[in-house]
């Protein structure tokens, strides 16, 4: 632990939330905000019932279904009885425990990590948890936000706290300017490429520097969303005027009178000048180019101008074996150029890239063009009903459908294949999601993680292209 009275943003939020310091670096930490969805909560509510306990603070919770919901034909019965049972269980649980709930047929429904910020439920300086690893998304607001398991969901429901060990501080500074043709997703992937998927384990990462400051709130959410992909517990971006402007007028944001009091509190959260980080990483922003993953881990990433590496190019024997396995799974020979192989399917969506800015970024590339003939399916899945409405107001849906994309209803969709949206065995998917794990988008599916602009361009060309030349 650095000996200094200068505090990082993480140190401050941690200190603000200590209920009991347990010594040895751990503390009982107060949790301000809790997002609940259908997959990781039923066993937690059952646990409460079994022990005769109640929800400590119902006003700290929003529940919304997202993982299992179909993204089309919602007027029809859900084709999967187990999904139905899980969705029904959520509905019954929110009734039993008196929680705010956004049902599937509500315009506000969507992916928890899109809904929380959109509703102003996510706020600077809060601790926010959800039974989902991509809870790191909310760090974009300077909230300490992280994913938890189902036992911890139950623990937070019952006690409003978690017993946690403090993580170490890391700062990733991205210098210079955002290069043309790149967006937050490329920055996120480039950082993971530099750190590795375990590079952030044991840390909370604060993202800083001119490129991060230049990002919109949507871009910052994309960046923090993937902090977990570097193994970090959470990602953080200091609140600034963009953050405050974003908060204004949202349903769960502080009301007039309180908002004015909240602003100075939020502004004071930034890391103190001279605060010491356990690890500092510098990334030269101007050197970032559009990124594409070639393997089965988010760290298996190269520039779109690059090639699939050979296992021998890694020194660690375990990594060599992992790369050989990944190449075998992906059906790539070492040395293959990233633009050489055809793409079979395109997915624009997920908690990483389904916000209005992502829709605009993809639509700008697609406008007036057509999806390549051999693409089996190209779909755009907005992150929430409100994103969908706004995109439709801007006419983006027409740009997508005219090009041959499907325009779906909000949900997690093909990010994780636990709803009807899946890729088939062996299919290469250009995907704006966050994980290219084996079978993640369906058994045998081959995922390539890219930005919305890169996914859009791949849909048109039928293979990856350098979106800077497109």
């Amino acid at each position: 632990m650095p000996q200094s009275n200068k505090m990082t943003m993480y140190d401050k939020i941690w200190a603000n939330h200590i209920v009991e310091d347990r010594g040895d670096g751990s503390a009982l930490l107060y949790i301000d905000r809790h997002l609940v969805h259908e997959v990781t909560s039923p066993q937690a509510f059952d646990g409460l019932r079994a022990s005769g306990r109640t929800v400590h603070r119902p006003d700290s919770i929003i529940a919304v279904p997202d993982h299992n919901v179909p993204t089309k034909d919602r007027h029809l019965p859900n084709p999967d009885p187990m999904s139905t049972a899980q969705l029904d269980a959520l509905e019954a649980n929110v009734k039993d425990f008196g929680l705010d709930y956004i049902p599937v047929d509500d315009a506000r429904q969507g992916i928890v990590h899109v809904v929380g910020p959109e509703q102003g439920f996510t706020q600077p300086g809060v601790t926010l948890v959800c039974g989902d690893s991509h809870t790191s998304t909310h760090g974009a607001f300077g909230a300490l936000a992280f994913g938890i398991g189902t036992s911890e969901v139950e623990h937070v429901l019952a006690t409003q706290t978690l017993l946690l060990r403090k993580s170490k501080n890391m700062r990733v500074t991205v210098t210079g300017e955002m290069p043309t043709g790149c967006s937050a997703k490329d920055v996120a992937l480039a950082i993971i490429g530099a750190l590795g998927t375990a590079g952030g384990t044991g840390y909370v990462i604060e993202y800083a520097g001119p490129v991060i400051e230049g990002l919109s709130m949507e871009g910052r959410m994309t960046l923090c969303n993937m902090a977990i992909e570097a193994g970090a517990r959470a990602g953080l971006v200091a609140p600034d005027d963009k953050t405050i402007d974003y908060m204004r007028g949202r349903p769960y944001a502080p009301k007039a009178g309180q908002f004015e009091a909240a602003v100075p509190f939020w502004k004071a959260l930034s890391s103190d000048e001279g605060a010491v980080f356990d690890k500092e990483v510098m990334i030269v922003g101007s050197e970032i180019v559009p990124q594409v993953t070639w393997g089965t881990s988010p760290e298996d990433v190269v520039a779109v101008t690059g090639r699939v590496p050979a296992p021998e190019s890694f020194s660690d024997p375990a990594k060599q074996e992992a790369v050989a396995k990944a190449l075998n799974y992906m059906g790539y020979a070492p040395g293959t150029g990233m633009t050489e192989f055809p793409i079979d399917r395109v997915f624009i969506g997920s908690c990483t890239n389904s916000r209005i800015e992502d829709m605009r970024e993809a639509a700008a590339v697609i406008k007036g063009r057509k999806v390549a003939d051999h693409i089996i399916e190209a779909m755009v899945v907005p992150g929430s009903g409100l994103v969908k409405l706004q995109a439709e107001e801007e006419g983006l849906d027409r740009i997508f459908t005219d090009a041959g994309f499907q325009w779906r209803d909000p949900g997690c969709s093909m990010c994780l294949a636990m709803n009807p949206d899946k890729a088939g065995p062996g299919e290469h998917v250009a995907s704006t999601s966050n994980r290219n794990f084996v079978g993640r988008q369906g058994p045998g599916s081959r995922t390539h993680l890219v930005s919305p602009a890169m996914a859009a361009a791949a849909a048109i060309a039928g293979h990856f292209v350098d979106v800077r030349d497109f």
């Binding site: 209920v19 009982l28 107060y30 646990g47 706020q123 809870t135 384990t201 517990r233 309180q258």
Partner: protein
């Protein structure tokens, strides 16, 4: 929760890096609203062909490692999703202890809640234990002393003291925390004054 003090068992060697929770239990199997039944699908792509045919000689089902309570595996084990279904599934395969060079944070936390001990040891020590597991040697993991022994080899590991106590006692963590109800209430009273906008009027 089952208490954990010491186990002595043969071990299953699975020395692959970055084993993510989608490999441990694919998302399509997360639809149960119970805590049980996930073991059948644990490590599905390692144990079964796409058509469901069992893969011969996979380490999880072969006779050689039958009854193993210890899994010896690669770096960054349990990365990815926060699904607690992963330790539930691993538990149903009979494992009480996982040894690896490192673990993903959320996964390691979830293991503690389910009576599974995660032991992080340097890569060279894990390599040695993989060889010992392959040779069918028994490994002894002792939590009170924080040691792993195998034949003449002896290793010590670090472990969070609060988590250690939970595993040793097999405690109901919620019940433990509720002993601090007064402190939680005091904290809330303070916060209602400093950040009143976080509380519904």
């Amino acid at each position: 929760m089952k208490k954990f003090t010491e186990i002595r068992s043969i071990a299953t060697p699975f020395p692959r890096v970055n084993i993510d929770t989608d490999i441990i239990i694919p998302a399509k199997h997360l639809k149960s609203i119970k805590r049980t039944g996930f073991g059948d699908h644990a490590f599905e792509t390692i144990r079964f062909e796409a058509d469901g045919t069992p893969i011969q000689d996979n380490v999880f089902d072969c006779d050689r490692y039958k009854g193993a309570s210890i899994l010896v595996t690669g770096d960054n084990f349990g990365c990815g999703s926060s699904r607690e279904h992963a330790p539930w599934a691993i538990s149903e395969l009979g494992f009480r202890c996982i040894i690896a060079p490192s673990f993903a944070d959320i996964f390691a936390g979830n293991c503690v809640k389910n009576g599974i001990l995660t032991v992080a040891l340097p890569q060279t020590d894990v390599d040695a234990l993989v060889l010992a597991a392959e040779a069918g040697h028994k490994i002894c993991v002792n939590l009170p002393n924080q040691t792993v022994t195998c034949g003449n080899a002896h290793y010590e590991f670090d472990f969070n003291s609060a988590h250690k106590q939970m595993l040793l006692d097999g405690l109901d963590e919620v019940g433990q925390t509720l002993k601090s109800a007064a402190a939680i209430s005091t904290y809330e009273d303070k916060q209602k004054l400093t950040t009143p906008w976080l509380f519904k009027a």
